[in-house]
């Protein structure tokens, strides 16, 4: 099975061959490295940008203005904060120009903790990004969705922010990407750049059968079905929720585990229907808890399904601290861990009315 990084690579390859992608660029995105997480190895339109995040977003906007289609990478979302006004601009161009211009542009950036990344390789970005209007914002939890949402992004006339959980970059999926070779070794041999040798003459041998497999925006996926509570998550923590649901079934507790996949626009009907069924809602993510995107999900659920709720809905999120510290304890005690997720799900399912 392909990893998330390989899924990105294959989707971008499909995009530059079939979807009009003209430029894939960012810091260390071109040869020889192909991205610090290897997401852009072997791509024919990939190039190395100057170390200048504002330059990257601004240039990508200009490429869109001129009829090109860029996929720009910000190496880590921890370094995107100086671009907020440019992201705002990308998102308001269509509205402020009364529809004259659009901004077909994909930005991808690794997010979240889980790799001992310390203060500046651990930030989350979804709460800020979903506050920037005019963008679609997605965060996949597995390689197949990563592929399908990138394909959707590269077809969009609007800017799309693809948040890639960095702890999942090397994680393999459970479902194959249509067209990927059955044999994992073959896939690696075909599309992984060789390590420790000169790559100058290396060229990938892309799988022949890659497809237009598209995950439409705004459509969640119910990953587990159950009766006792609804759990809404995305990205890395979605997997922790699925794992906890499987474990808690031994205690007789079952859950609807909803992978939002798209955060803006998010799939309210699916969340609402599930809350109406279970009467209980827990939202889980790793961003800091104040003005957290999960609070928005809670508010919409309360607006739409208040009288279905049996107990107060809850958010399990990161502590409100300036960063994720490097030492084990800092991450362990500030970012929700598997045990925290399981405990919060059990508590939600068993809370008395």
């Amino acid at each position: 099975m392909a990893t998330q990084a390989q899924a990105v690579r294959m989707a971008l390859h499909y995009g530059e061959e079939n979807l009009g992608v003209t430029d894939i660029f960012g810091e260390d995105v071109g040869a020889p490295l192909g991205g610090v997480f290897t997401c852009t190895q072997g791509l024919k339109t990939a190039w190395n940008a100057p170390l200048d995040e504002r330059g990257i977003i601004g240039t990508a906007l200009g490429i869109a203005y001129a009829g090109g289609r860029a996929v720009a990478e910000i190496q880590f979302c921890d370094y995107i904060f100086n671009c907020i006004d440019l992201l705002k601009l990308c998102g308001n161009v269509h509205w402020s120009s009364a529809g004259a211009y659009c901004v077909p542009l994909t930005v991808m950036t690794p997010v979240g903790a889980g790799i001992h990344g310390s203060m500046y390789h651990s930030h989350s970005f979804e709460s800020m990004m979903t506050h920037v209007q005019g963008w679609k914002v997605v965060m996949p939890s597995n390689p197949l969705d990563t592929y399908g949402m990138l394909i959707a992004a590269m077809k969009e006339p609007n800017p799309v922010m693809v948040l890639l959980p960095k702890a999942l970059m090397r994680t393999k999926g459970e479902e194959p990407i249509p067209g990927e070779p059955d044999d994992e070794k073959e896939l690696n041999a075909r599309i992984n750049a060789p390590v420790g040798v000169d790559r100058t003459n290396w060229r990938p041998r892309w799988p022949d059968g890659l497809t237009d497999y598209t995950v439409p925006f705004g459509v969640a996926r119910v990953r587990r079905e159950g009766r006792n509570a609804t759990v809404v998550s995305y990205g890395r923590h979605l997997n922790l929720c699925v794992q906890a649901a499987d474990e808690l079934s031994a205690e007789g507790l079952t859950f609807d585990v909803i992978d939002l996949r798209t955060l803006y626009p998010f799939d309210l009907p699916t969340v609402k229907a599930s809350v109406e069924k279970t009467g209980r809602l827990l939202v889980v993510n790793e961003d800091t808890e104040v003005t957290n995107f999960g609070e928005h999900v809670l508010r919409r659920a309360i607006d739409e399904a208040f009288y279905s709720l049996e107990v107060p809905p809850r958010l399990l999120a990161g502590l409100d601290v300036p960063g994720v510290g490097l030492a084990w304890g800092y991450e362990q005690y500030s970012v929700p861990q598997a045990a925290d997720v399981k405990a919060a799900m059990r508590a939600m399912a068993t809370a008395t009315t």
Binding site: A98, P104, N158
Partner: protein, 340 residues
């Protein structure tokens, strides 16, 4: 990509027509038009026909020559313009309709640039590659390398032209523009303009910048650069003609600074009062009369003709509708299939 609305390009090396009496008269005519529209908009603000004014009176000699030299059209074969809020003379000299500026000034729903959403002089004209003017200072300098990158790949003679003020060059985006335009072997056809009026709202340039010659910074990146008297439309025209020919033919950047006047202060927030600064329209007109290119009577006629035209446009704009509730959510997201 939509087809161009322009004719076949001329030779890049001799871009633009030479200065003749006929050209001088065109420059004068367009400068008068731009001045009168800005003064009309200041009056509109004072008489309750607009909330806020910001614009370019005093920069006509800087803007009009560029407007006449632009390779106008749609897509990378033509010039892209990344402008700021003092660029009315450029856009009017390109042929924008005065009434459309007045519409944006009054925030009518008929404002073709923003549907009454943005301040005046915030243009967005896709069929001429005028990308949306941003209220954020200097961000236009980071989008310009993007359009130029596409133009470089496309070939042809299209240039990305970026214009802004002096104070804004302190932003990192200005340096980004210089750097992204000069990656070795990947140089970009960007005409980097600086309108030096010696002010950033209330802060004098000498307090915050070590030199009034901002263009020389481009020299550190190997970009040819020069400073021109932006109050002199002929000198500006010649300098722009040369600079544009360089960008078109060499496919490399050029930095040109024009020293200009800020005739009515920063904006209506400082009262939009007339200041004691050089008046490029009056000076140029006097020169043309002195040279007998123009008589005082024909000059008067130019002012009268534009005054009449603008007056009629204003009366029309006063009758036009304002945005209503149903307009608020229009164009938040582009529908599938949209493209530039």
């Amino acid at each position: 990509m939509a087809p161009s609305d322009d004719t076949a390009p001329a030779d890049a090396r001799t871009w633009g027509e030479p200065v003749t009496d006929a050209l001088k008269l065109r420059l004068h005519d367009a400068m008068v038009q731009a001045r009168l529209i800005e003064e009309t908009m200041i009056r509109m603000m004072r008489t309750g026909h607009g909330y806020f004014w910001i614009g370019g009176p005093g920069e006509e000699a800087w803007g009009v020559p560029l407007g006449l030299l632009v390779h106008k059209g749609t897509g990378p074969a033509h010039d892209f313009l990344h402008l700021h809020y003092r660029s009315s003379a450029i856009v009017l000299a390109m042929g924008a309709q005065p009434i459309d500026l007045l519409r944006q000034m009054r925030s009518t729903v008929t404002d073709p640039y923003s549907m009454g959403r943005n301040f005046v002089n915030h243009f967005a004209i896709r069929h001429w590659n005028i990308v949306p003017v941003t209220p954020t200072i200097e961000t236009q300098y980071v989008s310009a390398p993007g359009t130029a990158w596409v133009q470089r790949r496309f070939g042809g003679i299209g240039v990305s032209i970026v214009n802004g003020g002096d104070a804004g060059t302190a932003e990192g985006d200005f340096a980004s523009c210089l750097n992204w335009s000069t990656r070795p072997g990947q140089e970009l056809p960007v005409l980097i303009l600086i309108a030096q009026n010696n002010w950033g709202i209330s802060t004098p340039a000498h307090q915050v910048q070590s030199s009034a010659d901002l263009a020389q910074r481009a020299g550190g990146y190997g970009i040819p650069h020069r400073v021109v008297d932006g109050n002199d439309p002929i000198a500006t025209y010649e300098a722009l003609r040369e600079a544009l020919a360089w960008c078109r033919y060499e496919r490399k950047p050029f930095c040109l600074q024009g020293n200009v006047a800020r005739l009515y202060g920063h904006s209506s927030s400082s009262g939009a009062l007339r200041h004691e600064e050089p008046d490029c329209v009056a000076t140029f007109e006097a020169r043309l009369v002195r040279e007998s290119t123009l008589t005082e009577a024909t000059a008067r006629a130019v002012w009268d003709r534009w005054q009449t035209h603008i007056h009629a446009a204003l009366e029309q704009v006063k009758t036009e509708p304002m945005p209503e509730r149903e307009h608020v959510m229009l164009h938040v997201l582009a529908p599938a299939g949209s493209q530039n």
